[in-house]
Subunit: 550 residues, 2 copies
């Protein structure tokens, strides 16, 4: 017996499709109908940049299923080209418009699932509607961009926004032969990262000839003399372009929900409980249109990630079938790759913690190789771990590197989910053979360093206070390393000479040590501490200084 005889689902691109399929598996009797405004269901939206870049070579690959498959395999009609225009909660009916014919009709429901998604942000700038200015969210958007590239053969692209989509598109348009300028109103790329972790990303983009304009948003668009476009930035810069991509993030599609009087949350998404039920007991909502609890801070936020949409869809289907599933919130594990670089993160950033009013945390930086250094082609992973001072609980992690980068974030994601501490990370047993990892994996190293901090074995010096500090800066690397480059004002006393020469150091003032990545300075710190010196170590050493604090 179905709890709800007739279940209507609004939106079939991601969450809606999953919800329909899951619900059918649980309930063969219910009538389930999907309404989708666009022409497709089950679209691999995350693949669109790679289709534009010709990495994915057939449009058909982006369709994970078709209405025919839904009908045949799930006995679920998917009405594409049908837009749901209103919800009549009192009579439990929706109003639908068939886009092709303009016909408007009503359909009754016992349960309604909203999965309308989100739409790209288009600021109300002058010239925003000029030809050649695109957003990217659907297969149709992608077709338009591909068509523009094929017919206009653009040479110069301006991408507005340096988030994941913007940077993926920087790579894919480079692939198509365009030169790229990225305009970002914020002073950093990838707002999900803390600012210092975004630094090596910016440099990498510049190495790949991306002209980065940070802290300078697009202000207006004009038609150019040569049939192209001109982008004017807030600072007055004039950028010529043959193609403009707006990649400024997305806004939840809440119009239906607002007009139906459903609760909207503080972050601007549909408010749901942990069974994905809205403020109306017959209506559920999933995907990019809802706001969710941040699993680390407990705050409501908008998190447009595909994995979460599918999870929420399962929870909603379970709820409608009378099962006790719960959505645990969003931990914000994400990854992005471009020009051979991988950027991944999980949990809270410092930024997010601070805005949530949390201050009881500490951070470590490290730069381990992705695999054992004695095996060829190890590449550094720049890793930041954020953990609670009180109990060592892991709060977040960010990583920038090449191979093996997202693997460490995946490991840390599970650790956060299960409430693991930095002490647990010391003990994690990860796969080690020389081409895959190290006897002390980067994750172990992160745990060890953080545990050293919490046990009081390693007092980190704050990078932010380096400019103007009264501390003596001591570089414990070998003289040839010091000679090549060093922190301004530092003196050199190599670890290997420390036991012989330590009395040269002052006992009155604080000493801040550093080395290449933090290992030798830790050894030196342990020695000097036991000799009674007042000593700290700059986390991650010269690699952090060079990489993150330009």
């Amino acid at each position: 017996m179905s709890l709800y005889r007739r279940v209507l689902i609004v939106g079939g691109v991601a969450g809606g499709a999953t919800c329909a399929a899951r619900l059918r598996r649980l309930d063969e009797e219910a009538e389930i109908v999907v309404f989708e405004r666009g022409p497709h269901v089950s679209v691999a939206t995350c693949g669109l940049p790679y289709w534009i870049g010709d990495v994915i070579q057939e449009e058909a690959r982006l369709l994970q299923a078709t209405p025919e498959v839904f009908a045949r395999n799930f006995n679920v009609p998917a009405r594409t080209g049908h837009e749901v225009t209103a919800i009549d909660r009192a009579s439990r009916e929706i109003e639908v418009r068939e886009l092709a014919s303009g016909r408007v009709y009503r359909e009754p429901y016992d349960a309604l699932v909203l999965s309308p998604g989100a739409r790209p942000i288009r600021p109300a700038c002058p010239g925003i509607d000029l030809p050649g200015i695109f957003t990217l969210r659907s297969i149709e958007d992608s077709r338009r961009i591909r068509e523009w590239i094929a017919t206009r053969q653009p040479r110069r692209a301006v991408i507005v926004g340096a988030g994941y989509i913007g940077l993926e598109m920087a790579e894919n348009l480079t692939q198509r032969g365009l030169t790229i300028t990225v305009v970002e109103a914020l002073p950093q790329v990838l707002p999900l990262l803390d600012a210092e972790m975004a630094e090596p990303v910016s440099r990498h983009l510049e190495t790949h000839r991306v002209d980065l304009r940070l802290g300078d948003g697009a202000a207006s668009f004009e038609a150019g003399a040569d049939g192209g476009l001109v982008v004017r930035t807030a600072s007055g810069a004039r950028l010529e372009a043959d193609l403009v991509l707006l990649a400024m993030g997305v806004k939840p599609e809440v119009k239906l929900a607002v007009e139906a009087g459903l609760d909207i949350g503080e972050a601007g998404g549909v408010r749901v409980d942990d069974t994905m039920r809205t403020s109306d007991e017959h209506i559920w909502a999933v995907g990019d249109a809802v706001e969710v609890r941040d699993a680390v801070t407990g705050r409501w936020r908008l998190v447009p990630l595909a994995g979460l949409a599918h999870r929420q869809a399962r929870v909603a289907a379970d709820a409608i079938a009378g099962r006790p599933s719960r959505f645990r919130g969003a931990q914000l594990t994400s990854v992005c790759g471009f020009f051979g670089m991988t950027v991944a993160a999980t949990g809270a950033s410092e930024k997010v913690l601070r805005s949530a009013g949390t201050t009881d945390y500490d951070t470590v930086y490290l730069h381990p190789g992705d695999h054992a250094g004695y095996y060829p082609n190890a590449r550094p992973i720049h890793l930041k771990l954020i953990f609670a001072k009180a109990d060592g609980r892991i709060l977040g992690a960010q990583a920038v590197g090449e191979q093996g980068t997202e693997k460490r974030i995946d490991v840390l994601s599970v650790a956060i989910q299960k409430g693991a501490t930095v002490f647990d990370l010391e003990e994690v047993e990860l796969c080690y053979a020389p081409q895959y990892g190290a006897a002390k994996d980067p994750v172990n190293m992160a745990g060890m360093i953080a545990a050293n901090v919490l046990r009081g074995d390693l007092e980190p010096a704050p990078w932010s206070e380096l400019p103007g500090t009264a501390a003596l800066i001591v570089d414990v690397r070998d003289p040839h390393e010091f000679a090549a480059d060093h922190i301004e004002g530092a003196i050199n006393l190599p670890l290997g000479e420390l036991r012989r020469r330590f009395e040269e150091l002052p006992r009155a003032s604080e000493i801040w040590l550093y080395c290449g990545v933090g290992q030798r300075s830790y050894y030196a710190l342990r020695f000097l501490r036991q000799r009674g010196f007042n000593v700290r170590s700059l986390p991650g050493g010269y690699q952090t200084y060079w990489g993150f604090y330009p």
Copy 2:
């Protein structure tokens, strides 16, 4: 104040070196001396096969540190070429022989750490000492093999033993131009895996022209007519070889401990408590010579893995410095790569569970792509998940694939460490962009399938009972898939026709469904179950059948 003034460490290759360095960081005052029989300290033993294969091109890269570095950076003399020959527990002294001079001397200790490692197994077969028969454990072993290859230009190698080292050497000797025969007394390769998971590994080796002789051990060795060797196997096969590698595993070096009357455990290693202390309160032991608790089954066992040796060394150093660290046991996370294949595992195998008397577990198989199928070059990962029936706790996992294989095992390793259940895996948030993973990652899929089993939504049919089952086998794939190949005796009823044709199926007998990988058969099962049929699904579908049950 040091708890122990004078700390002597026997063995400096792996655990001993780590223990010395860690202890120095905690205690600047103690006198710490390392005694190492061989010429090196801190050797990257796991790299030896790759040095032989010329993947690692300099011997020096295998030395992670030298006695000079130990003296200079840690104030720890490392006496290489000094063998510890006896422990006098009553007087707290060791007896040492300087190998170069033959001089024997005694050294007193307050604390003693044994890190003697393990030695390769050499069976007492006729001819075992013939020239051209090698083991591989040290840099010197590697030099001998390299020298043999350089001077003799061998064409045919016989490798005795199909464990991790044996298969890594199969690849590296192939790399050097040899043709390879692997002889293994057990009926499968990689004894750490359950037998069915080893099947695709065997096929992969055969694809790479490795002549595999399973269930047939080496019985004797003879000099061949052409200056080569002849290996005779237990079954009477005669294999010609120009080089023989014995890769039959290792035995803990317990001679010193036995002669000193220290407790030896049931698995044959030095018995220690969870601070790595032996039955003598002044003696600790770490690394391949000790036996450890299996973190899943609680049983004592020998686990010669580098990561564990380092962890144990830290625990012992902490204990000697008066700190409360504990060794949690060994979870047996491991990985091995050869010929483009990655094999990884964590936790207990079915084999291990059965031998520990555990029967309250279930398993699922799946064959997901390492990343989204719509992005090019996705490759299947064959994954087996073992979990407790009672509460869904994850007990073990095994994976065979290419890229991204060990990543999933790493994720599952943390999950096991933190006591996660299959229900947690449904919710794990992992990195998803199309080149890295999927909106439903293989780990999520494993959790969902296992949770389906535990919730009673999916009744798995036991593969082991397929031969001779009275059940009706129904292939729900499309007719062209069925036509290409199918399980003998199966009938074809495609999922897409099921709702129309289900009445053709018998209600009296049990029905076992399968498809390609298990998804469509699950959909079909959900439908038929709700129509009152007695139905099960063969886990992992035709991929499991084809891959694992030849």
